[in-house]
Symmetry: C2
Subunit: 338 residues, 2 copies
Amino acid sequence: MRIALDAMGGDHGPAPNVAGALRAIAAVPDLSVVLVGNQPQIEAGLEQAPPELRQRLSIVHASEVIGMDEKPTDALRKKPDSSIARCWHLVADKQVDGLVSAGNTGAVVATGLVIKRFLKGVRRPGIAAVMPTATGQTVILDVGANVWPKPLHLLHYGVMGSVFAEQILGVAQPKIGLMNVGEEEGKGHELIQKTYELFRNGPLREQFAGNVEGRDIHKGMVDVIVTDGFVGNVVLKHAEGVFDFIMNLVMNDVIGTLARERDLALAACQNLIAKFHYSSFGGAPLLGIDGICMICHGASDERAIANALAAAAQDARVQLNEKITQAIAALPTFQDLD
Amino acid sequence: MRIALDAMGGDHGPAPNVAGALRAIAAVPDLSVVLVGNQPQIEAGLEQAPPELRQRLSIVHASEVIGMDEKPTDALRKKPDSSIARCWHLVADKQVDGLVSAGNTGAVVATGLVIKRFLKGVRRPGIAAVMPTATGQTVILDVGANVWPKPLHLLHYGVMGSVFAEQILGVAQPKIGLMNVGEEEGKGHELIQKTYELFRNGPLREQFAGNVEGRDIHKGMVDVIVTDGFVGNVVLKHAEGVFDFIMNLVMNDVIGTLARERDLALAACQNLIAKFHYSSFGGAPLLGIDGICMICHGASDERAIANALAAAAQDARVQLNEKITQAIAALPTFQDLD
């Protein structure tokens, strides 16, 4: 598997990207990585790299970098030779099996939508994020590509999330829940009520488990949670914020009270943080576009980038997009509902 | 202060309500409580009550109970003598200074909207919830009364949340943030973009701190977070879910590894849980309606009910609604934007 990595993406420049690429290559035998960005900077980061890893890395120069806060549409127009655009061109030219970027999410999505087509039949791509639960993992989508969807977009998210849960999380017949403000049918606003109807009586009815409330997300009641990109984005970032907030409290108020077993408790806490930190989950795939694209947190460290590269390779290996296309093709024809 | 308590509300029937009323009266010297519901059941619960507390409790019989899952509009029509309706009538007749209910939230809100008017000038009531942050507390609204608001409703939530933060949380010139999917202006969908504009260039511009992302909620960057009732509801319940999920992990993976200092760590953990559990926050006020109304979690225990009664009494004591009315009256006139 050959994955393009936006070496300039993220809050910390090339360093964690280059280190992450080396780490991923060391861990995944069939992986090669194309580092895309400022060639001299990337080469400087590779000086100490072991030769047996270095030979599975190549560099494609890109003369421009899109800033984390740049407006995506402006960036696209003004910076045709950005590292993000180069990554997408490598995907489009079939030089790589997928791309990974911790850069400006809006720009990654917008550039993809300009350079590549949607997967056949998909009405709107969505970003899927894997979240930990009491029983394993659940995939929630969309988390930010489509903040004002239609019911049919959300039905497609159900299909795509379901294929992802089967192929990547290894769940047979994934259960799908609809994010809502209460359990009962009829809850929520019109978009959600119409979407509920489409799931309840449509082609996914066997897999549909009804509404899911905020407090249920981490209970593991469903394998796929469908929501609009506004709610999904707030929830995903909120999970990160609550986790940091609580673990800080635990560090101060619990670990801080201990004496003799403080180191033991601290190590257990650090394990827990490492296990549930977003960097374990290796980025969020943009599903519904013709090309594997893994979007990473701007603050991604070496470990997060390495996990995202491994995840992108796995998505390509299982032919995730081909399977999504088949599942969408198997749906009856719907009109977009407003 | 005299507060009506829906003694039938919540998942556990009268027991935690009656116990909560006794606990609140013991703690708050000027508080008296009217227990509203099935008189024999309430009296049975009061048999062991100390006489000095019992004398500050009275009972108003209501022959009907609205179930937690009943559809609010049906319940209103079919059960005119519900404990919820009786509570609101006591407010309307000025027999009490406010009400507390852990019953069906939709029914509490819908009944209030039928029996009482909105506060003068308020376009739509909203439910405010207090959430803990790294620096203190923040109030987020709406968390479920208005899932499809207009920009002006959200501006009013800014005003009401700000008065609440001043009067109840003791913050001078509260800072207001708008829940969004990114920090930069222009993020989010049309409703949020228009609302941003209304805050940025409107009468609250001095207090407006811009967009707030999900990961910022618990950082304490702002005192008031404005959002629609769908997002607010998901976030509030998600906070509860993440907290339970993480504290379970800490109990198993951290406390479980200890031997000699296990009891010490366990006690510290239990303190932390008690401090940040929703029951510490005593319910969420429905703001914008002519009457103090505190809405509690369906799972409320004695402590949650007691805290909610004390909070309702405090809202009445500081004349929260009079102050909201003044603040709304001070706004220039706006047209509702779609």
